[in-house]
Each structure stands twice: as structure tokens, then as C-alpha cells.
Symmetry: C2
Subunit: 344 residues, 2 copies
């Protein structure tokens, strides 16, 4: 039977506050480049006071993945908590506008915490340093997981960042049980080396017992399998536990390990404006390829193309017509002339 | 005595909700291209439901002008009403982050109306069609005008859009009286032909009695002086009433009429991505040139350069270093090598 959803993503619902900042600003404020650090509300207010004029766009790692997947035409839903406030309305609108289902219960308007936000400092090299005030998304609870929804998903996609938060592990467990119980499969992204060190045991158990597909970048997979001693050994260790392992390496492309085999797929060169969302869109396009029945190498090529699109502009949501890009790169067949000209 | 402010702007405080839309979307929803139309809250909700993923950035015509002026280093303040809500905080932050003073009393958090917003539909040709829900900015009242502040301004800059709203004319009158009473001068932008037709008599009286500097585009000055019968005659009619008249003509540059003379200053060619803010930034840069003592032709060249910058990207606030652009175009002298390399 066809499931209602091809993909349900669970993650931290965040609005990104994007601003350009010189490297000296990072140094002054003790912000380490290229990573995500959690900040509390007071720190968020203080930092926001000091940054320049900003642009607000919906973000959140898994939400970016789901937005890309839905934009490709995939049947997707997203689970992540916002408040009944203006930023919450913006977040919900942008997911729905991409065609994704978003029905997570809202935190009421009188909750003290607000919709989460991520102050993204984009330095001239295109690197982004993320300062996240989780707000209400920190409190996504098992009761926010609709078991019928995740049971009706071919895949669920879990965001590593979502391991932070008091009830997050229980919420994931509930989603995994409902999904796998109905024959669904589980994909995860490790999200961040520091997040791994905060929740190493939970990640390890989940990788061994539940995960069918792992997304990680080089630093993350090395942090996760630190005992392995090298990137190569970490890849092998992951592949011994997880059916499909994808390790991305920025401009060096990505490695796919599955079925006892291994592929390397080169990146699609582009001018980096803002690296935000590269991994998220890689995952969204890869998973879309997968549910549409493409082979793993083609899925990885789709992932690289999508990542290259999203880093060529400010913001973590895809802007171009990805299917058209896939055709240009020869990973999707060119349709008849009439349909092609309609897309343009 | 040096005044505290070189420029105080009064306008509608709005957060722009920017989204790309095909021409067919405009046709479907009966939206006329390139103009601003006022919508109520219900219409705003309905339209927002239908547009695609969006980006939120501070906007508001006079606020864009003030942001550009402040970014150039001018001493500026802005008067325009937001609510004590998330969009209001974003609006206030972005002005202050540019170095502008923003102290307008907030509408309280329990006011029914919200911070105003403008849903900007950007079509593939770069034209923008603006759908404005004024919210609390509609109710800027005379009591929101700090007479001491406007008296301490060399110039005040009035936004034509601000003629809409029950107490707007009284608020403008109070600001003009306080400013002129202290030897200050008054600049105005006509903003929009439809706005002119809604408030023709008030505009006419103000131009005759109070205004020292008029900004208008071709359609606006033709609408204002419709009796004149032609663009040329409208320019002459305006110049007979107002000391300095600036009429912008998009890619055809601008006309300056003053001291019985007339100049034409060609536009700076660029690829148009989003025309939002062109007139606003023209005014901001022109006024900065003026208060810094440059001749009118140089001011107009600065205005054209700033307009060309802001239409080359999405959003109505300037992103580049305008002074550096002025130097590249030879309208500001190149400083010594050391200082120049610091700016880069």
C-alpha cells in the first residue's frame, strides 16, 4: 500500500536571523567559526543587539531538508515546535508554501519561551557561525509525535540537533517505534560534532539499533567514531552498523557506503555565498532520489547539486528549480520540448 | 549651532515580506503590477496563505531612506509606529543597527492591530507589486511626534504614503511647524500616484506652503500636476512652487530643477533583481550629499549610484559600502592608500 508520506522530518523549528559579520566580530564575541552553539534567551537578546541589519528566513536543519524534498514534489511532513507568535507563523507558512504538511501542536501564545531562532553570522568566506536560542522547540515532547503520521511514512528523518532538550530522546523513541512498527525506515543526520559529544551514548545506541541511513560530514563521523582513529576507519565502522552511510566532505564531494561497496561522488563547484543549509539540502535531494527509486550514486549526485544551489545564495532554503538543475546535469532525463519550456 | 540630527524621517514602519511570484499569480489575484495597494488584515492573511516561501526584511519607504543615510554616516532619526511584537523588534533593531535613532513610542502588545507589513511580490522582470497591511503604523498620531527632536533636525523627510491614516495630516503639520520654527527644512516624497489621488489637496497645500525639496518619479509628478498636461509642464509647475525638485525616471536617470536651472543626470546601469527601494535609497543618498555640502548634480549622482546598488539584490536596504561606490564612480575623492585599504 502506498504510504501517505514519503518522508517525515523531525527537528528543531527555527527562524534564521541572517547577518553579515567580519571575522573580527566573531573574535570579539568569542564565537567559534563554523559551528552551532546554543545560547539562552538573554544571550540571544544581547547578541542580536550587537549584530547589523538582518534578514529573517525560515530555517531549522531538518525543516530545510523537508522543504527541499517537498519542493521536488515529494510527499513530506515536518514535526517541530513553534509558538503561536509571529515568527512561528512565518515558519509554518514557509513549510506549507513548499507543499509540506506541518501540523505540530503550537506552544500557546502565553508560553514564556518564544519561537526558536538561530542568529547566523555569515563571514566574508561564506562560512556560517550559528548561535541558536531553541525557545519552544527545545520542549518537543513524545505527546507532540503523531504516531499515525510517522507510521504512514516510508522514511523518517531525524535531526541530530534535536537530541538537545529534556524529552527529545523519548520523542525520537516514540517516532522510531511507530515508524518501524509499520515497516518504515529511519534516516538520521549527526548535525554537529559538539552535539555528538553531548549525546554520544544515545547516538551510538540509535545507530546500532535503529538507523538505516546515516548522513554526516567528515568532522561529525570522525567525532562519532572517534575510537576508529581515522576518517577511513570511521567510515568502515559506520558502514558495519548502518545499511547506507553518506559522508559529505564539502568541496571534496561525498562518499557513499552500502551493500559492501563504496562510491565517491565529486561536488558541483560553485561560488560560496553562504554555506548554511548545504548538508540539509544534500539530504533532502538524496532522500527524494531514493524514494523515487534512483540508484545511490544518482541520489548522491542529486544531493551535491542541491547543496551547490543552496550555498550560492544567502539562506538555507533552495531557490532554484531543482528538477531543472538535475536535468541540466544529466541526472534526470530531459522531457519533451513542450514540458521543458513550461518549466522554464 | 550644529543640530543633533541632519535628517529625521517620518513614514510608515513596515516589515517587508518578500516573495517571488510569476506574472500569472498577479493576474489571478487581481494585483496591479508595480504599485502599492493597501489591504486590511484579513486580506493580508489570505494573500500570505497563497504566496510562496518568503524572506522578511525591514522596509518602509522613509525608513529605507533613513537607513541609507545613516549607513553613509549621517546623523539621522526615524519616526514611525510599530507594536511591541516580534516584527516590531526586528524593525527597530535594523534601524538602530544602521546607526539611526529610533525612539517612536511602541503600540502596546495588547493592541489588536499588529506591526505593519508589506507583502512584496517580485516578478521575474524585477518589478515589485506591494500589498500593504498598515497595522499600527496607520495610527501614528501628533502625540507620537517629539517636537524637540524635529526642531533639532536640519531636514525632515516626509513619506507620501504616510498621508493615509486618520491623524497623519495633523502629525505632519506638527512636525513641520516644529522643524520650520527652528529653521529646519522640509523634504517630501510623493510615494505613489494612487496615494496622491487619495490626498491631492493635502499634498498640494504642503507643496505650496511647506516643502523645500520634492522627490517624485515621473508617474507621481504627472499625477500631482495633472493639470499641467505633460511631464515637462509638470516639472515646471513643481519648480515654480518648490525650491528643489528631483524627478526620477528609472533607467533614464533623474532631472534636477533648482535656482532657475535644470540638470539631467543619467542612471547607473545595473541588472535589476528587485526594484524595491530604488527611490528610497536615491533620496537617502541625495540628502546625505546635500547636508554634506555637495552640489545638486553631485547629490543626484550619489542618488543614482545608491538606487542602482539597491535594485541589484533582493530587499530595500542597501548592502554595499556606498561611500566606496561613490569613490569608484568618482563622486567622492579617493582618500590616501592606507584609509582606502581599511575600507575594503
Amino acid at each position: 500500500m502506498t504510504k501517505k508520506f514519503q518522508l517525515v522530518g523531525i527537528g528543531n523549528a527555527l527562524v534564521d536571523v541572517l547577518t553579515h559579520a567580519p571575522d573580527s566580530f566573531l573574535a570579539e564575541h568569542g564565537i567559534e567559526k563554523g559551528i552551532m552553539q546554543l545560547i539562552d534567551r538573554e544571550q540571544a537578546v544581547r547578541l542580536y543587539d550587537r549584530v547589523g541589519p538582518s534578514t529573517e528566513m525560515s530555517g531549522g536543519s531538518a525543516a530545510n531538508t523537508i522543504a527541499g524534498f517537498a519542493r521536488l514534489g515529494g510527499r513530506a511532513a515536518y514535526v517541530g515546535k513553534v509558538k503561536d507568535d509571529q515568527l512561528g507563523a512565518i515558519f509554518a507558512h514557509d513549510l506549507r508554501a513548499q507543499g509540506a504538511v506541518y501540523e505540530t501542536p503550537l506552544a500557546p501564545a502565553d508560553t514564556e519561551a518564544e519561537t526558536g531562532r538561530c542568529i547566523v553570522l555569515v563571514t566574508p568566506d561564506g562560512e556560517r557561525s550559528m548561535n541558536t536560542y531553541l525557545g519552544v522547540t527545545e520542549h518537543l515532547a513524545p505527546s507532540d509525535i503523531d504516531e499515525a503520521q510517522v507510521a504512514d511514512a516510508e522514511w523518517i528523518f531525524l535531526e541530530g540537533y534535536r537530541f538537545d532538550g529534556p524529552e527529545s530522546h523519548e520523542a525520537f523513541a516514540r517516532a522510531i517505534a511507530a515508524c518501524k512498527g509499520a515497516g518504515g525506515r529511519v534516516a538520521i543526520t549527526l548535525s554537529d560534532p559538539f552535539c555528538i559529544s553531548r549525546h554520544r551514548d544515545a547516538f551510538a545506541r540509535m545507530l546500532k539499533e535503529d538507523v538505516d541511513l546515516l548522513f554526516a560530514n567528515r568532522a561529525e563521523i570522525e567525532a562519532m567514531y572517534e575510537g576508529a582513529g581515522s576518517f577511513e576507519a570511521a567510515l568502515e565502522a559506520a558502514a558495519a552498523e548502518v545499511e547506507i552511510v553518506i559522508a559529505t566532505e564539502s568541496e571534496h564531494g561525498c562518499h557513499v557506503l552500502a551493500e559492501g561497496r563504496r562510491w565517491h561522488v565529486p561536488a558541483v563547484p560553485t561560488r560560496v555565498v553562504d554555506a548554511t543549509g548545504a548538508g540539509d539540502l544534500f539530504a533532502g535531494a538524496f532522500l527524494w532520489g531514493l524514494v523515487e527509486g534512483h540508484d545511490l550514486e544518482t541520489c548522491a549526485r542529486m544531493g551535491n547539486i542541491a547543496a551547490s544551489e543552496v550555498i550560492s545564495h544567502l539562506g538555507a532554503r533552495v531557490e532554484a528549480d531543482l528538477k531543472a538543475l538535475f536535468r541540466q546535469h544529466g541526472v534526470l532525463p530531459l522531457p519533451g520540448g513542450a514540458e521543458e519550456s513550461k518549466e522554464g
